[in-house]
Symmetry: C2
Subunit: 351 residues, 2 copies
DNA sequence: TTGAAAGCGGTACCAC
DNA sequence: GTGGTACCGCTTTCAA
């Protein structure tokens, strides 16, 4: 068993407070005494104050939690998520804080427990499925948090983009190119739906807030071009990954009237769609595909997409957490997006 | 202030133990009582047992730490590191554990403090600069850990590759192609050295263990081909990033006798070198470049490199941490590597 | 099934 | 500059 601070105190013949001060407040005791304490501590193999005990007493931990929906390993599967994390890490570092990555199980109770058990000083919520349930749990703990989802309460800290408007701009780009028969691709559009086309009566039924907003934005543009929601094909992918994106569009070409374009809710999905719909060197008319995020791979693939600032999103989120602004208005940061047109989108073929 | 378990106990009129059991050991009390407790707790806004206090009492945290040299945000800068993390995350998840990302400051005392203050049950050490100092600190805390560096002690848990042999195979590939005048590129080859060529009297002087082993491996192959260490150009990059790689090779072409090949210690460095030495479409003789890791970008760039299994490395490391094998021999896992030849390497031009 | 009491390892306020 | 002394909030024998 490792010796405790107490044991060191006894060995040196001073009080526990003094030993504690030797570590945490060097200026509270004479250098000689401090030296003597540190020396005996070393000899005894005392590893220094226990982090957990210290946290308990001090009332803060020195780490912030990042909450991810679905499995933690997925967090690294989407380059955009990695960029977000990079930004968070950067800010955390500046504040001498560690980062606790917390995977959220799919079930509500599991997620609740995960949030309740995380030893952190606050949370960055990245794209949680059951957003509201999670946020309530965090509020219950009385911890500060920052959301990146699309529907913040007025008094929540938030950093994000105008999802709907951004999505609309991508869709408008396609309507301008003449596309009218299109497919919208998102992940987890409806709970437990198998990959591929599915029927969605109302966008509002889509539980995942980001997916919902983006789909709604797509729909806005098509409505403006005279295409009703019910005329759009909705595709769901089982994950937000490239392979899932590919799987989701597999059946498209064999539809009676195949869409001339696919609008994806993320670049990874879009790239998967490209893998299937525009394999290298294939001749003939090509389906247009657009993505969302503008990850690094998008450029090489020539993917038309919506660019949003990933690192900045993470950095702003963490900064908001560490230095909450005094007035509520400054607690909501809207980041800009840009439509980046590349070769994956083109005019609709004459029908 | 949030109510405590104590307050709940008083409110319900039971002992603290009973309330504690209501959360952690449902079978220790009657369902009715438990229900009553949980209900009052909810009404009072009690968020459940405090994670820190629980950890202190129980003696374990439910999180493992991942140690990174240099700034934490760099952790995400190298795709190979991300793959490693993915593997760790996967295993951690399976063991219901969170991941604490711990950035290690460059200075020894800072690093020491970071390790001492991390509230975790064990560490995965990913490529730490002052490896030994760090490991000693961890040992001091009495926590289990897994290394991925190249010089494990016999009783340490370790997962890695044969760095030197792998590097040699890349270099042998180049000697076979006739290259004799080459440059070796690593990051932080010597402390605080500026980017570019530098003089290294002895490979053993290189502090970073991985860089050292890989350089040594390169040298092995050239020695076998009759090229002495002193005839090799050594380049250092200031970081393990693409831009740093580019900066490091900038001066190469203007040397009196420019090398015909660059062997980099990582893919990101190699890609940076390619950016400078083989810009798209440039005519004329081209410098050969090899990398290390085989990250996703390597394929698209046609980079000849050494492939090592990133996720498996992370997964094995974490698994070793969670389920330490009984016999020491099983605690050291050697992963395979492969030379992947692509278009970035070719025959040396006649001199 | 429930309660009492003893910590887990420290920190910080306040006297001396 | 140093020591005394309450806690921080919970878990866990062990006895009732």
């Amino acid at each position: 068993m490792k010796p405790t601070l107490r044991a060191v105190a006894e060995a040196v013949g001073v009080s526990r407070s003094t030993v504690s001060n030797a570590y945490g407040r060097p200026d509270q005791l004479s250098p000689q005494l401090r030296q003597r304490i540190l020396e005996t501590a070393r000899q005894m193999g005392y590893p220094g104050p226990d982090p957990t005990a210290r946290s308990l007493r001090r009332g803060f931990v020195g780490a912030i939690g990042v909450l991810f929906t679905s499995r933690l390993s997925y967090a690294f599967t989407d380059p955009f998520a990695v960029r977000f994390l990079t930004g968070v890490a950067e800010a955390a570092e500046r504040h001498d804080s560690n980062l606790l990555l917390v995977p959220l199980p799919d079930d509500a109770v599991g997620a609740r427990t995960a949030v309740e058990n995380a030893a952190v000083d606050g949370f960055c919520v990245y794209c949680a499925g059951d957003e509201e349930g999670i946020l309530d749990t965090i509020r219950g703990r009385g911890l500060p948090f920052v959301t990146t989802s699309s529907r913040p309460r007025a008094d929540d800290l938030w950093v994000g983009i105008d999802e709907r408007a951004a999505a609309r701009s991508a869709a408008t780009h396609l309507t301008a190119l003449g596309h009218r028969r299109v497919a919208l691709l998102g992940h987890d559009v409806l709970p437990d739906a198998p990959a591929g086309p599915l029927r969605v009566d109302d966008v509002a039924d889509v539980p995942h807030p980001t997916t919902r907003d983006r789909l709604a934005g797509f729909a806005d543009a098509f409505a403006a071009a005279g295409v009703a929601w019910s005329d759009l094909t909705v595709l769901t992918a089982t994950d937000n990954t490239r392979v899932a994106g590919a799987a989701a569009v597999r059946s498209l070409p064999s539809l009676p009237e195949p869409p001339t374009a696919v609008l994806a809710c993320s670049d990874v999905l879009a790239l998967g769609a490209l893998d299937v719909l525009r394999p290298d060197g294939e001749p003939g008319p090509r389906v247009s595909v657009t993505g969302f995020d503008d990850i690094a791979e998008a450029e090489a693939a020539g993917l038309t997409t919506i660019r949003q600032p990933g690192e900045a999103k993470g950095r702003s989120a963490a900064t908001l957490l560490f230095d909450p602004p005094v007035d509520a208005a400054a607690g909501q940061i809207l980041l800009p997006t840009t439509l980046v047109v590349r070769s994956s989108s083109g005019p609709a073929p004459r029908s």
